[in-house]
Symmetry: C2
Subunit: 313 residues, 2 copies
């Protein structure tokens, strides 16, 4: 009963780890498993795969569910972390109004399952053992296929009225612009999200756009410049609106193209944010990389079981 399972439900992969709490704070990973996210359109198939992933990770660690105190699960939002229900996961066909925590618990012999949004889970992890360690006012931003985030203010996770707070990728930063996947326009994500960038350029992924820009392609350069301007606007807005001491930036695009993400955000704050909040705001890369979802899910479950989860509950 001393281990925790961390699950990360994504649009293409289901990932699982088994971990034990460590004195350093960062859980020690004992086993892991990765499986493809079913695209059958049946939520039960996805939940079964999550359960299978958990069991496979346990097997790879030579342990069983008897050793597990709780399961943490990161999933795309919007969702209800208290009741463990996913309202809708736009990247997983048919995944609507799914009582994920309860269904998964019943497939895992009743082991308690704690569900939370992937970006919230990432913010918990970065705050507890990552780049925002010890901070009480920070924002986690992911710049990847999409742009998302989570906000911690005064030592508490912002939840909002129906638990969707932190969806800062859909904060409009342009008065006009191309249509975003969310149906609006002008969102940060419409300019800086990988899927939108690739679509606007007509390529397979955002990496092609950055490569073409480096090769001198004018259209790619313009898209990259506009993405940088949107990320700068987001950073300025976060600093002026929320006065964080740290903005932690993760996600695939940040990892591969930091100079097109972190640098424009820092420059924007330096040159254009209000003086008092700008003086304390640092933009730093995420510390936990692509495993943040699983590590955060473990930490989140660990904290809830220990009764220390009130700051993000």
């Amino acid at each position: 009963m001393t281990l925790f399972v961390g699950l990360d439900l994504g649009g293409t992969q289901v990932r699982a780890v088994v971990a034990e709490p460590a004195p350093s704070g960062r859980p020690r990973i004992l086993g892991d498993a990765t499986r493809a996210t079913p695209t059958t359109g049946r939520p039960d198939d996805v939940i079964a795969e999550l359960a299978a992933g958990a069991r496979a990770a346990l097997e790879s660690a030579g342990r069983s569910l008897h050793d597990v105190a709780a399961v943490g699960c990161a999933a795309p939002g919007p969702l209800d972390p208290h009741r463990g229900i996913v309202h809708v996961a736009p990247n997983i066909p048919g995944f609507e109004r799914v009582p994920l925590a309860e269904s998964l618990a019943s497939l895992l012999d009743g082991t308690p399952v704690f569900l939370d949004r992937d970006t919230v889970i990432a913010a918990i992890a970065e705050g507890m053992v990552g780049a925002a360690h010890g901070e009480r006012d920070y924002v986690y931003v992911t710049v990847s296929t999409g742009v998302g985030g989570a906000i911690v203010s005064g030592g508490r996770m912002l939840r909002g009225a129906t638990n969707t707070a932190g969806e800062i990728g859909h904060w409009p930063v342009g008065l006009e612009g191309p249509r975003c996947g969310c149906g609006s326009f002008g969102c940060v994500e419409s300019f800086a999200g990988g899927r939108n960038l690739a679509q606007q350029f007509g390529s397979r992924d955002a990496g092609d756009v950055f490569r073409a820009a480096r090769g001198g392609d004018e259209r790619a350069k313009a898209l990259v410049a506009r993405s940088e301007a949107a990320l700068a606007a987001l950073a300025i807005g976060l600093v002026n609106g929320l006065n964080p001491s740290v903005i932690v930036v993760g996600g695939g695009i940040t990892e591969h193209e930091p100079q097109h993400v972190l640098e424009p955000m820092r420059r924007g704050i330096r040159e254009r944010a209000l003086r008092v909040p700008a003086a304390v705001a640092q933009v730093v890369p995420a510390a936990l990389g692509p495993d943040v979802g699983m590590v955060g899910a473990v930490l989140s479950a660990q904290e809830r079981v220990a009764g220390r989860g009130s700051w993000f509950a």
Copy 2:
């Protein structure tokens, strides 16, 4: 010792009320006074005028400082509400690094003075006895000479690392645009703030711009349309980013031109915000009008003295 003084320090006027707590929650005003804000560039002159305003309001109520439990004071930010220091009040010449609470208390025979930002004070008032009564997740927005606000999430005032959180008027909503008073561009205030609107049109105040737009002036119509687009973007961003149940909108422009403020915000949310947070977000006019600063200052002092001020402290 049952009365409270509420002070509102503005760029042109110092206003004061004396009030007593009432069972309805909304304090009963017993006397008031209004004085011009000194423009001598000496903070001491401004503080002396605040003290004189407090005494004049007491005199008009036939009461004295002996009857006063505490003084609340709303002031432009950025400021430190815990230490009672104004960092800088951009609209009051020379008002920088002023220990306002302490200096004012000493001019008022040691009566405790509680200082807070004008928009935070307004949010406290709207939450306690106004348009956000009973709400735990709401945003107060003022659209006036400038655009500002304050954020309440999970029943707590967002303060940020150095107490400037809520300055949402300087959230960029345009990737380009005219220079804002803050030195940046693209801010909500650069498009929708009264001073900027008037300046861009070349008139004395924003009222002229709205009048000219009604009269068919094309340049005025374009400025008003852009202001509406910026306010819609702000509303969408607030809903997506913070998931409030209510956005309370006050300020002079909102009072005089509600159809150019409230309506575009509502339409923006309805047409472009994410579905789950949009479903619960209402945009409502402020309930307390131009007296919100003084009423809120009274309420804020009242709550702090009663030990109930932790939600906004």
